[in-house]
Amino acid sequence: MTDALEDWLRLTPAGLWCEPGGFHIDPQRAVERALITHGHADHARPGHDAVLATPETLAIMALRYPRDRPARQALRYGETVRAGGVSVRLAPAGHVLGSAQAVLEYRGRRVVVSGDYKRAPDPTCAAFEPVRADVFITEATFGLPVFRLPDDREETARLLHSVEAFPDRCHVVGAYSLGKCQRMLGLLRRAGYDRPVWLHPALDEMTALYRDFGVELGETRPLGGAGSLVGEIALQPPGPEQRTDGMADPVRVFASGWMQIRAHARRRGVELPLAISDHADWTALTATIADTGAPEIRVTHGSPDALIRWAQGRGLDARPLEPPSGSGG
């Protein structure tokens, strides 16, 4: 009889805990040893004693938390380390630069923790690599069948068409500083847009870091006091820091998977919603579950119910990732 998953990998208040390995995965609190799948703040927190991650993710964390000094151990995609009795490997997740799935093997069973991932091609990070598994722990940010996102090339073309149709206005694209900003740059370049793109200062350092890792993003210019920016595209972080003063009648654009739903786009008050996401959409989530061949599925983040329902309908043992019963946490 094989060990139950919960005997060696379970959700605790601090996060996903691998007991025989003695480490947490993407813990929400400071812990002794952390395996970090990628650099977004809801996965990579400061204050750990030791961090294991890809070299890119370590660099991103060092940039985000300059005063944080954990013992850093870099693990490249495909390399393996042992922690206790557990072998640990990182596989590309295609989410942002350096994002990884954690591939854990213990006593002949392989668990893949997806972290955040996407399957759509992204010129700014390594493509997702499906890994066969006994247990697949998947995110489900867009775990509803209404989230079948359009091709990102079409969404980029919509933006460029709008720039053409409103040549007297500035297009201000809201994009998160890690990942979405650089992906938008990459998509624009791939679509043949070769004008300089104007970057809000909050997006600057992360974009420079991408370039340090060899990602081609074309010419960018700093936004500060750039004037009316007629006919130009500017990238800004979403939310209150947005600066549009002085800009020529800005078209507010937002690039996010949530923009697939009109009510969300309305709440954001955008004029041009672009359904471009760094997360797997419904098609990718279901295809990936099939690709891993895993008979056991655990679902976390977002909307697990529909994905669990779908997987159960295919005879898989699918459940939400929850703390083991009786653990008190």
């Binding site: 509803l144 069948p145 209404v146 079948r148 359009p150 919509r158 709008s162 149709a165 409103f166 697939q260 739903i261 009109r262 009510a263 786009a265 309305r266 709440r267 955008v270 004029e271 041009l272 919603p273 909307s303 119910d305 529909a306 329902r309 779908w310 309908g313």
Partner: protein, 517 residues
């Protein structure tokens, strides 16, 4: 169809009429016949495609998807029409969506029982954006803020014809408007439009500063009537009523059309609910009664009797075949008075005598809004507009009762406000809040903190915050518990420190009011 779907999507998020016009103009420039004509019909309401209720659309989707996945999706998305379009399974084959020229006439010509079958077949050939567009057309939803007038404005932006010229021929055209486009592109003569609409004199609201700078002696004043601005056209035995935007609404008012018998000319006036069948002069009824006569597809036989209406005329554009628009107002007015004497369902808007700005102010303080027109001015819609001088706003201290987020094309959220009636708050209107951003945010925080229940997007709150609300007038509203409603309410101050019982009672709004003449 892809391009049209994209247009609908952009229109749904456009923030101003000017942007809507540009989006439509951009589409029209890139699209040829007959597709652009059908698009104009779909946008301008020239075609009735409402064939499938939202629940029926959802039922179509339920035939194709797991019911639990559909339920979870609907919970998340909220809108059944959007949910059905988004969740529709795709075969993976390259989409080959129908063109508008196929889908629109088929939908408009189909029965309610046949339409779902058409949609199913089209959905199977389309991607999500086209499915959403088709679903909205079939559900009879039109993009917010897109009026027939705005569609014509877009045509005027694309082609070398002015809006007035387009409006004069518009009503005689039918989708897909081949002869209209041929004329607009200079390929054919201007289409015939017997008994057509003539552009109306526009009006503009005057603020106090501009009013002070006006040479009032050159103007005539009339009361501003609350009703529906209409144009009455009686030419060669044809009798028509047009709305302010040039839409033919004759079918809504067979009683008025019948009363036009024997008239010859084109007139400008306001259609109002009547207090009774007598007149002229007619007595205005409650303005909200008119609502029952509007927005219909057909008119029940008894409705004209139940809700009698009349037209209060104030100008004349044509006398028989004679174009009077170049004449001075005083001259047109004299002719109007002679022509319209003693005709049932028609009367005249009296001119108000006033001397100087003090007399105007006195009228305004009585709650009267006025229209000022230059006495020597011609009827020239492209020239300076008539001027509206609004009644002086009054204020009331009211309680905040609920908040509703603003939809697209609205200014922002609106807040339901109420006053005390027998010791309990009774709602008297929905007021926008145009205070400084900081104050608005504080108000929204207050709403979140004091929410007592949700009704769809509406959040009810504890009646504990007193607001100063300005309004132009009070009108009777029999369906409200308060029995009346504020006209043009607006939150002008948030009285954070006042206790709830500092709000006014209903009597504050019912005494000292001047009724309409």
């Amino acid at each position: 169809m892809r391009a049209f779907a994209e247009l609908l999507d952009r229109l749904a998020f456009a923030s101003s009429p000017a942007i809507r016009v540009r989006l439509m103009a951009d589409y029209l420039r890139r699209t040829g016949d007959p597709e652009r004509g059908w698009a104009v019909a779909a946008l301008g309401g020239g075609l009735d495609t409402a064939r499938v209720r939202p629940a029926a659309l959802l039922a179509l989707a339920a035939e194709r998807t797991d019911s639990e996945l559909l339920r979870l999706s609907l919970d998340f998305v909220g809108d059944p029409v959007e949910t059905a379009a988004l969740i529709w399974p795709e075969s993976g084959a390259a989409p080959s969506p129908p063109v508008l020229a196929e889908a629109l006439p088929a939908l408009a010509g189909s029965s309610r029982s046949a339409a779902p079958g058409l949609l199913t077949a089209w959905f199977d050939r389309s991607d999500a954006s086209v499915r959403l567009a088709l679903a909205q057309l079939a559900a009879g939803r039109r993009p917010p803020g897109v009026t027939p007038r705005l569609v014509r404005t877009a045509l005027a932006a694309v082609f070398p014809a002015d809006l007035g010229a387009i409006e004069e021929v518009w009503h005689a055209q039918t989708p897909p408007y081949g002869p209209l486009f041929a004329w607009l592109e200079g390929r054919a003569p201007r289409p015939e439009a017997p008994a057509g609409f003539r552009p109306l004199m526009p009006v503009r609201v005057l603020d106090n500063k501009a009013l002070a700078g006006l040479d009032l002696l050159r103007y005539r004043a009339e009361r501003q009537w609350s009703g529906l601005r209409v144009q009455i056209v009686a030419e060669a035995g044809r009798y028509r009523l047009y709305s302010r935007s040039g839409d033919d609404i004759s079918f809504l008012f067979p009683d008025v059309v019948a009363a036009m018998e024997g008239l010859e000319g084109v007139f400008d006036g306001v259609l109002m609910a009547a207090a009774g069948p007598d007149g002229p002069p007619c007595r205005p009824g409650p303005p909200e009664a008119l609502e029952r006569r509007l927005g219909r597809k057909s008119v029940p036989r008894r409705l004209p009797e139940e809700v009698p209406v009349f037209v209060r005329l104030f100008d004349m554009l044509f006398d028989g075949g004679e174009d009077m628009r170049a004449m001075a107002l005083s001259e047109r007015r004299a002719r109007l008075e002679a022509r319209i004497e003693d005709r049932p369902r028609f009367d005249l808007s009296p001119s108000l005598a006033f001397e100087g700005v003090e007399a105007l102010d006195a009228l305004r303080r009585q709650g009267v809004s006025l229209v000022l027109k230059p006495a020597a001015g011609p009827y020239r819609p492209a020239g300076p507009p008539w001027l509206i001088v609004r009644a002086a706003p009054q204020t009331v201290r009211a309680l905040l009762l609920a908040a509703r987020p603003g939809g697209v094309g609205e200014g922002g959220p609106s807040y339901s406000v109420g006053v005390f009636r027998d010791g309990a708050p009774a709602a008297v209107g929905d007021a926008p809040c145009r205070l400084a951003a900081g104050e608005r945010e504080r108000l929204d925080r207050w709403v979140r903190k004091h929410m007592t229940g949700r009704y769809g997007p509406v959040r009810a709150v504890e009646p504990a915050l007193v607001l100063e609300v300005a309004f132009d007038d009070v009108r009777p509203a029999p369906r409200r518990k308060a029995g009346l409603a504020l006209e043009r309410p607006e939150i002008t101050r948030i009285l954070w420190d006042l206790p709830p019982d500092a709000a006014d009672g209903l009597e504050r709004l019912t005494v000292n009011r001047t009724g309409q003449a």
